[in-house]
């Protein structure tokens, strides 16, 4: 009996974890909004230039606990994606360069941190939560969304993103 209860509890926990990592398919029939921003090093990025790649567009902020927690897994995600054409564009939501630079020094993200002090892209993408994640396919369409933190280097997520590059 105790063993059965333990197994039920374990399977419940595993289900919760699997659900937490779930990307939600994006079904709205709307074009992907523009995303043209400059990163912390002054390099200009236009989402359109990344056609042919799977792109994770993330809206985050230094005050967001889950954002900070998941960034190391985003670093690992990049190496786990291997040869799959893949790019992370992490858009900071309206903070100052000084705040973001301090955060970067501490957390050490190994991907592009884009700055949007005016909040234009946040409005265009209708961001209402931090972090908000959008997975863009190689054709430039939003295919999945994910609101809230997640461990990005999980096999489940990596396989889903790799599959997107093939399809």
């Amino acid at each position: 009996m105790i063993k059965s209860l333990f197994l039920i509890a374990l399977s419940f926990c595993l289900t919760l974890n699997a659900q937490a990592a779930n990307l939600k398919p994006f079904t709205a029939n709307t074009p992907t909004p523009a995303l043209k921003l400059t990163d912390l090093h002054g390099k200009h990025h236009d989402l359109k230039d990344y056609k042919g790649k799977v792109v994770l567009v993330q809206f985050w902020a230094t005050y967001c606990g889950p954002c900070k927690k998941e960034m190391p897994s985003m670093n690992k995600m990049r190496s786990k994606m291997g040869d799959t054409p893949f790019k992370i564009l992490a858009v900071d939501m309206g903070e100052t360069e000084a705040e973001v630079k301090q955060f970067v020094k501490e957390v050490k993200p190994e991907f592009s941190i884009l700055m949007d002090e005016s909040g234009q892209s946040i409005n265009d993408w209708q961001v209402f939560a931090a972090p908000s994640n959008f997975i863009i396919d190689p054709a430039g369409n939003i295919r999945y969304t994910l609101f809230g933190g997640v461990e990005w280097d999980s096999d489940e997520l990596i396989n889903k993103l790799k599959a997107l590059a093939i399809n």
């Binding site: 709205a28 074009p31 809206f59 309206g94 409005n123 993408w125 209708q126 209402f128 931090a130 969304t145």
Partner: protein
């Protein structure tokens, strides 16, 4: 007056003041019939001409909310905190909001207006829908009277999950009332960029709407367990923040 008389006078007057204060700010509970149910309202009485009717769905159990209510009462603003969830035997989940009837909300507002005080409504997050729903119906039933205004803190009034590239859609009740509204939003939340769009929608039926951004705080800062220093400071000054909000709404009424 010798020293002994002076000390006796001071002790007696201090005890008298304290006992009066505790009576004046005692927490009363009033039960009202609201449609098919009964709602308990915790009342923080005050002698002033202003009444703030709050819709804390969690019965206002947050220490910050209770402290704020007491502080406002001390400054002459009477505060009513109805326990909507218990009245409808609902769990503390967001979906419970839709089970709170408009009739019950209207009955509460009616009861508040019977005091003869200027009635302001206040709620935060998704509970702001209750304020708009209650006010809209109350206005329909009371064409010749008006409420003084509403403070909506961190309003979360999207109909569904917002879609990138698409104009946001709000709950149907947004834009139905004529109530003067003040929106408060934290600087450190992405929702601050949506405040203009929400203001615009709220004005559709003639509501004068103002919005203010609270610097250095996240949404729901007064309920956060990981509150930072700025959030702690603003939480401790919540009563002041609400009084300033009521001032903005009064200013609006004066200009009308």
């Amino acid at each position: 007056m010798n020293l002994k008389t002076l000390i006796t006078f001071l002790v007696v007057s201090t005890v008298a003041t304290l006992s009066n204060t505790s009576l004046l700010f005692a927490n009363e509970v009033k039960t009202i019939e609201a449609g098919d149910t009964e709602i308990d309202i915790r009342i923080f009485p005050a002698t002033g001409n202003t009444l703030l009717l709050g819709f804390p769905c969690d019965e206002g159990k947050s220490i910050a909310e209770e402290k704020t209510a007491r502080s406002l009462a001390e400054d002459g603003i009477e505060v009513w905190m109805p326990d909507m969830l218990s009245g409808f035997m609902l769990p503390k989940v967001r979906s419970s909001l839709s089970n709170i009837t408009t009739d019950a909300l209207t009955a509460l507002i009616d009861e508040a207006t019977k005091t003869g005080k200027k009635v302001y409504l206040i709620a935060s997050g998704p509970d702001t829908e209750l304020v708009l729903r209650g006010a809209s119906n109350w206005e329909t039933l009371n064409k010749n009277s008006s409420l003084a205004g509403a403070v909506l803190m961190f309003p979360r009034l999207f109909k569904d999950t917002p879609v990138p590239g698409k104009k946001p859609e709000y709950k149907t009740v947004v834009g139905e009332t004529k109530l003067p509204i003040l929106l408060l939003e934290g600087e450190r939340t992405p929702n601050r960029w949506g405040i203009n769009s929400l203001s615009h929608e709220l004005q559709k039926n003639g509501s004068p709407v103002k919005s203010k951004i609270i610097p250095n705080v996240r949404g729901y800062f007064f309920k956060r367990l990981d509150a930072n220093r700025s959030e702690d400071v603003v939480t401790s000054q919540m009563a002041g923040l609400i009084k300033v909000s009521l001032f903005y709404l009064q200013e609006n009424n004066t200009h009308d």
